[in-house]
């Protein structure tokens, strides 16, 4: 039977090493299956976070051959088997154990975002065309692969100043909602540091839900920030109209 060689990270935040394991291949096998095989037969204490094995819970994010991916959606037959397959935890987050990382920073960022605030006196009736955009953002499964691959977090470590693509998607979903009455432009500019994003689209490339994060969320939000803070004509118009 054909087999694959895996190099799986074993360790914690203090350090670790790649452990080599051999796994027999089966038709339709995904990387998470291979990890389960290793857990069952070779490393019973291997830490792997997973839930649905259907690409919907966003738990099994890892770096397979250096690519941030959901292990449950990465087929073994799509990987070159002539060399060992490396499976490492997400680089941007602290390792708890083996492939399990501490992603709690994301939940702290989430708390900075004012939730949905209904427009005062609005009639609760809107067309489908008003929510088409927002529905794309609702597909997010919070796998945090976009956060992991974003170089602002990954290489520059700007966790204090930057929200990251996942939360730009969330803000876009709120800002573009026809019934929402709050403006989060100042939050985007300051607390979430949208100006740090240089739109290199890695977040879009790794999104397993194929959300057009950069084109449909980040760039439209950058344009809204420009409306508010960088467009002198619009600022003048607002001043003449006496708007805040």
């Amino acid at each position: 039977m054909a087999e694959a060689v895996l190099q799986i990270f074993r360790g914690d935040s203090k350090g670790g090493a790649a452990k080599e394991c051999h796994v027999p291949l089966a038709p339709g096998m995904v990387v998470l299956d291979a990890l389960h095989y290793v857990q069952a037969h070779q490393l019973p204490d291997l830490a792997v976070r997973w839930n649905c094995k259907a690409g919907k819970c966003g738990s099994c994010s890892a770096e397979v051959n250096g690519h941030p991916r959901l292990t449950c959606k990465t087929r073994m037959d799509a990987l070159p088997l002539d060399k060992p397959i490396t499976i490492f935890p997400m680089k941007s987050f602290p390792v708890i154990k083996d492939l399990v990382t501490d992603v709690s920073w994301n939940f702290r960022v989430n708390k900075k975002i004012p939730p949905f605030q209904p427009r005062a006196g609005a009639e609760w009736k809107f067309d489908q065309k008003d929510v088409d955009r927002v529905q794309e953002f609702r597909k997010c499964i919070e796998c945090f692969l976009c956060q992991n691959v974003c170089h602002v977090l990954r290489d520059h470590g700007k966790k204090e100043e930057f929200g990251g693509p996942r939360f730009f998607v969330r803000v876009a979903g709120l800002e573009m909602h026809p019934m929402d009455g709050a403006s989060r432009a100042a939050l985007l500019r300051k607390e979430l540091g949208i100006g740090l994003c240089n739109i290199t689209k890695c977040c879009t490339e790794v999104c397993p839900e194929e959300i057009h994060i950069t084109d449909n969320a980040i760039i439209p939000l950058k344009e809204r920030v420009v409306d508010e803070f960088y467009d002198p004509l619009l600022m003048l118009v607002r001043k003449i109209r006496g708007a805040k």
Binding site: S13, E20, D130, H151, V152, P178, G193, P220
Partner: protein
């Protein structure tokens, strides 16, 4: 056990990655094409001659201002190139392309960088990317002149005709128009900025416009490259005809 690693504790060092694919191949065409076009356009802008022949005018020199050097002693292209250049430099697609290819920031996804003083687009000079929409307004103005040039290219000494140059200039202005229409800022200004299409004044037409521009916007990268190459080709064609290296073929 293989080598000792600590994935999250490891500091960034340039080019470090576990990726095994040839990630660096992605940036080569950008460096070659963007760098090549930049060098060619700079040389042509300073050349100051061979920019028109018969009814043809090079897009790098349009609109043609003070060609007889009454008040501007240098190449007329230098008076106008800041407009189209600014539009491309601040374009959301080109930003991605040159941040990756020239600034290596990042060189590719999940490939490490080594810079520690990253400020993105929050400080000078990159904070100026926020004026993209003003270059869009200028680009629309330039398109008016380029369409005028393309129509003018149908008229040879008072008679209507079609030469290869006519088609080259027409193709160029069509690609430039599509590139401009696919702009992210235009998509925002046309309707993307609205939260509720059905509640806003002219919401229906603005929604339709936004939808159409969104379709074009999905291929913004394609239009960016196609229009860049067409500008270079149109200028080269006019130059070669103008200096006598080739003859323009009349088709009609």
């Amino acid at each position: 056990m293989a080598e000792l690693v600590s994935p999250s504790a490891a500091g960034p060092s340039y080019g470090k990655t576990q990726r095994r694919d040839t990630w660096w191949v992605e940036i080569i065409p950008v460096v070659v094409l963007l760098g090549g076009f930049g060098a060619y356009a700079t040389l042509r802008a300073f050349e100051g001659r061979f920019y028109e022949w018969g009814p043809y005018l090079s897009p790098l020199y349009s609109p043609l201002i003070d060609p007889n050097h009454h008040w501007w002693p240098f190449s007329p292209a230098l008076l106008i190139l800041a407009g189209p250049l600014g539009f491309r430099v601040t374009c959301y697609y080109y930003r991605k392309a040159y941040y990756r290819a020239f600034f290596l920031d990042p060189p590719a996804c999940a490939v490490s960088e080594s810079r520690h003083s990253y400020r993105g687009e929050t400080a000078f000079p990159f904070i100026l990317q926020n004026v993209h929409r003003y270059f869009l307004y200028l680009a629309v103005l330039f398109l008016v002149f380029l369409w005028r040039d393309a129509i003018h290219a149908f008229f040879f000494d008072g008679s209507v005709g079609v030469g290869v140059g006519t088609l080259v200039l027409l193709g160029n202005v069509i690609l430039l128009s599509i590139y401009t229409l696919s702009c992210h800022s235009l998509r925002h200004l046309s309707g993307g900025k609205l939260d509720c299409f059905s509640c806003a004044a002219f919401g229906g037409p603005r929604y339709k416009t936004w939808q159409w521009l969104s379709v074009l916007n999905q291929r913004h990268m394609l239009w960016a490259w196609a229009s860049l190459l067409s500008v270079g080709f149109a200028d080269l064609y006019v130059r070669l005809v103008s200096c006598g290296a080739i003859r323009d073929v009349r088709l009609h």
